[in-house]
């Protein structure tokens, strides 16, 4: 037998990591560079954003008449064509920013004159208003996704929550300190009930939650339409499909004075994000959610009750969507009408994806989405570029995030060893 002892004989069985040997260790800068190219989550997200902005810029160039005109005369004035293009793109993105965050000129005006503060801060206030329900519903969807339950019914649960909140709002009369918390709880309970239905159907009969939740969206939408024309929900003396309004004691207080619409709903959303983060990381129930989301068979073998978890996930997810409906109702709208909630329940799915099912990610993703919505409207007013550009940017971001392979190929990123992007659609078919 030949023993080829290379170097010192390794010590017997240290249970921990082998220290990196001095030989062949790459220098610090090389390791740093490597880490940067390795496609971790943050880098992919930033690059997705960047890609979306580039595609948006191309679209602006290709569709704005003044830019096209400048390019048609590029032979005589090449510099002008570039100037017009740059200026138009800059104006458009500038308008999105000033329309959704803050307008420097309005702010300057307010500082110098001492008036017009509302105008200066209105953009960011509107963004917060739009983001709050997205965060809440997005958290619910994300919690479901990470447990392997695909709740596509946030829209219906949101409506159910809003109906319940409205009922608690007009049916009881209490001082605001008691009434408002009851309204919020009622909204959450309404959403929870709406989530319980697909949950129990899946646990008991194996019905696929995707189909059931999608169908329940229509059920709640039509239920709302029915209630809006019947007692006791319909506004008395009205023949239109309009509900009663929330009394003052059932409305969420404003955060920054009565002229800005930003309200307690955003604080509720942030609190919910913290609660969900705690729940997923630190609670025993959240632990079982994560286990079952990652490997249902291992969870079952370890004695976890998969059916119970399925029901609970949908109940909690529904409650969060119900809260989303409550904060729009009690924060800004104060009454219900047909088609209530717009697209929030579906944008919530996008936001959960964008935030990679993490609470902080959902908050940031919602703020970005809300800003693009709010800013897009201002851009249309200021520059005439249609608001659809915002939708295109939103869609491109989501597209890039959903297909990290694409971004990696595009920017020649190397796959990271650990913490790389996990395929989130895992479990869809089960």
């Amino acid at each position: 037998m030949t023993r080829t002892e290379t170097g010192p004989p390794p010590a017997v069985a240290p249970a921990t990591a082998v220290e990196p040997g001095p030989r062949g260790e790459p220098p610090a800068w090389a390791r740093l560079a490597r880490r940067l190219v390795e496609a971790n989550v943050a880098v992919v997200t930033v690059l997705a954003l960047f890609t979306a902005l580039v595609i948006g810029a191309i679209l602006i160039t290709a569709t704005t008449p003044s830019v096209l005109h400048a390019w048609s005369q590029v032979g005589s004035a090449p510099g002008h064509a570039f100037y017009v293009t740059g200026a138009t793109i800059g104006d458009a993105y500038g308008a999105i920013f000033t329309g959704s965050v803050i307008s420097p000129s309005a702010l300057g005006h307010a500082i110098s004159t001492g008036r017009g503060w509302t105008g200066a801060f209105n953009p960011i206030s509107e963004t917060l208003v739009k983001a709050a329900p997205l965060i809440l519903a997005g958290l619910g969807v994300a919690l479901g996704f990470s447990t392997g339950v695909f709740n596509i019914g946030a829209q219906g649960q949101l409506i159910a929550g809003a109906i319940a909140a409205l009922y608690v709002g007009f049916a009881v009369h209490l001082p605001i300190g008691i009434h408002l918390p009851l309204v919020v709880l009622g909204g959450a309970a309404g959403g929870a009930v709406a989530g319980f239905i697909p949950g129990i159907l899946k646990a008991r009969t194996g019905a696929h939650e995707v189909i059931v939740t999608i169908m329940l969206n229509y059920v709640f939408l039509d239920l709302l339409t029915y209630l809006l024309t019947s007692r006791p929900f319909q506004q008395p003396g009205q023949s239109n499909a309009i509900s009663r309004t929330m009394p003052a004691t059932a409305r969420l207080p404003h955060l920054f004075g009565s002229t800005l619409r930003a309200n307690l709903g955003f604080v509720i959303a942030l609190a919910a994000a913290l609660a969900v983060a705690w729940f997923a990381r630190r609670s025993t129930l959240g632990f079982s959610f994560r286990v079952i989301g990652a490997n249902q068979r291992a969870g079952r073998t370890a004695g976890m009750d998969v059916r119970r978890v399925t029901v609970l996930v949908l109940v909690i997810s529904g409650a969060l969507a119900g809260l989303a409906g409550t904060v729009t109702l009690s924060g800004t709208d104060f009454f219900l009408s047909t088609g209530y909630g717009g697209n929030i329940g579906f944008d919530a799915i996008t936001v959960a994806l964008l935030g990679r099912n993490r609470p902080l990610g959902v908050v940031l993703g919602s703020l970005l989405f809300a800003a693009l919505d709010v800013g897009g409207a201002s851009m249309q007013v200021a520059t005439g570029i249609p608001i659809d550009l915002s939708s295109v940017i939103q869609a491109t971001i989501v597209f890039c995030i959903a297909t990290p392979m694409l971004v990696r190929e595009l920017y020649r990123l190397r796959e990271a060893g650990g913490g790389s992007i996990q395929l989130f659609m895992k479990g869809w078919s089960s």
Binding site: A17, V18, R23, S283, A294, G299
Partner: protein, 520 residues
């Protein structure tokens, strides 16, 4: 093909999985790679097959330095790999699987099935790999599925075949057949890199042996110059007890009582057929049998994972027939499942989290519905040391551990709460000799502490070494319960379906208390 690896180094963060590894495989050679769990064997093979990028070193094929960006490159250079977990499409036929990715097509892009079938037939005949080209893969036993994997590599004209722990899931007959195939491939000039933990197999089939430890090559040998004990010592770095030392069992009360237990599976097949079995406190009953004769289903029925059709399961007097897994666990039953990756672990979660999978909601890990993460981590650190689990820290995902270390995590979890009954299916599958020694010792300790132990194992050596009584299962029925002194032939006959009553009386006494047996 002559393969040369020179100074291959691969790091995962601060962990050096391969540290300047040199290895030469000559044409027509069966080269065995031995090494304890986590030594870096799979990592080295993944580097060679283009699945991982090495940080330093060179790969040379027939003297020429090569760079593999992905497995496609490796395949083009004549390297084939059969992974431990097969990568076949279950609903495709053998022929379709073999040509997948390199499909012979006719005009208009139609798959040329006739040529695919002919390819399979030609390769099968050439190397003695018998398979039915039109069989659907999911209907085949693992041994045959493995042949399909080998055929796949051969169809792409592999000159060097990597087999990573191919024998772990095979029956003894299938292993012999595989060795035949390996020898005929070597005779045809193809090289084989073969990884296993079973020293007997190494001695039987290898032309040359390379031993790795802690990421380095610590020695090479030829089988005729060495022996199993030396190899084990070189691998683990100390001398290893290749036998299980245990005092004669002192059985107490009945703990597990199965009476008339019958399980009909989802296809309507009776997989467990009126089984009566008792396991007493302080004894180990080993359930022997060729895989697929109902042992797995029996273990699952006891642990609440599979519905019992008729009959009953009692543990310590408590009726657990069709109880939930949770009730079974709370009754003091520990379960090491056969499929660790599917049933035992959540590969994306950390080692610490995996260690509390079945006690996460109990003290000291939980209080009032919230986890005590500090305690979870502290306990995990202790278990890494206690069970010699090789990992950078308790917070790395369990999926990054080597196969053997993953198994130790499962065993560590199951043996760290009070146990009345331990049901362990293939408890040492994929473990190195040192770890097998350790796990066997822990199982014997559980027995001596008064637990009843039911071991399900398709390793006859393990069955003979551990069992105080040996129950043999065939087609869902117990064909006999014998003492460990019983000869291998007799047990072999029972495993083949002969009833105990039909066999001639055995020469050994039933009390032939054998306390030490070769387990390699």
């Amino acid at each position: 093909m002559r393969l040369e690896l020179a100074g291959i180094t691969k790091r995962f963060g601060s962990l050096v999985a391969n540290d300047g590894v040199d290895l030469v495989v000559e044409p027509g050679e069966i080269h065995c790679l031995l090494g304890e769990n986590g030594a870096g064997k799979t990592t080295l093979m993944n580097v060679l097959f283009g699945l991982l990028r090495h940080d330093a070193g060179e790969i040379r094929v027939d003297g020429e330095t090569v760079e593999f960006a992905d497995p496609g490159d490796a395949v083009r250079r004549g390297i084939g790999m059969v992974h431990q977990h097969f990568m076949l499409v279950p609903v495709f036929t053998v022929a379709e699987n073999v040509v997948l990715g390199f499909e012979p097509t006719r005009r208009a892009g139609f798959l040329d099935r006739r040529r695919a079938r002919a390819d399979v037939a030609r390769l099968s005949a050439e190397f003695g790999l018998e398979v039915e080209p039109d069989a659907v893969v999911e209907s085949l036993p693992v041994g045959i599925q493995q042949r399909v994997e080998i055929l796949k590599a051969l169809q792409r004209d592999a000159q060097l075949l990597i087999l990573d722990e191919p024998t772990a899931v095979l029956t003894p007959q299938e292993i012999q057949a595989l060795f035949g195939i390996m020898r005929s491939l070597a005779a045809a000039g193809r090289s084989i890199l073969f990884i296993t933990h079973k020293l007997k197999e190494v001695m039987a089939v290898a032309d040359r042996i390379t031993v790795m430890r802690l990421g380095r090559v610590v020695g090479t040998a030829r089988p005729e110059e060495t022996n199993e004990a030396d190899l084990a010592a070189m691998m683990v770095g100390r001398s290893v007890e290749l036998v299980v030392r245990k005092a004669p069992a002192r059985p107490g009360r009945d703990v597990l009582e199965l009476s008339g237990l019958t399980v009909v599976d989802e296809r309507g097949v009776t997989v467990v057929d009126h089984v009566d079995l008792r396991v007493r406190a302080g004894e180990i009953v080993a359930l022997a049998g060729v895989q697929g004769n109902g042992q797995t289903e029996l273990a699952e029925a006891i642990t609440g994972l599979r519905p019992v059709t008729s009959g009953s399961v009692r543990v310590d007097g408590l009726d657990l027939t069709n109880a939930t897994p949770r009730q079974v666990i709370r009754a003091g039953v520990a379960h090491v499942p056969e499929d660790r990756q599917g049933d035992g672990l959540v590969s994306g979660m950390t080692i610490a989290e995996n260690l509390i999978l079945d006690v996460y909601d109990q003290r000291p890990y939980a209080r009032l519905g919230s986890l005590d993460l500090g305690e979870v981590r502290r306990q995990a650190e202790r278990k890494l040391v206690d069970f010699d689990i090789r990992a950078a820290s308790p917070t790395v995902p369990v999926g990054t551990l080597s196969g053997g270390n993953q198994q130790k995590v499962v065993v560590a979890r199951e043996l760290s709460r009070p146990v009345k009954l331990l049901v362990a299916s293939q408890p040492t599958r994929g473990l190195d000799v040192g770890s097998i020694e350790y796990v066997h010792r822990r199982i014997v300790e559980e027995r001596d502490a008064g637990a009843a132990v039911l071991i399900v194992s398709s390793e006859l050596d393990e069955v003979l070494a551990l069992g105080d009584r040996i129950a043999v299962m065939f087609r869902g029925r117990i064909t006999g319960v014998v003492a460990p002194g019983t000869g291998r032939e007799r047990i072999g006959l029972l495993m083949a379906g002969m009833e105990e009553a039909d066999l001639p009386p055995s020469a050994e006494g039933e009390d032939g208390a054998v306390t030490a047996l070769d387990l390699t």
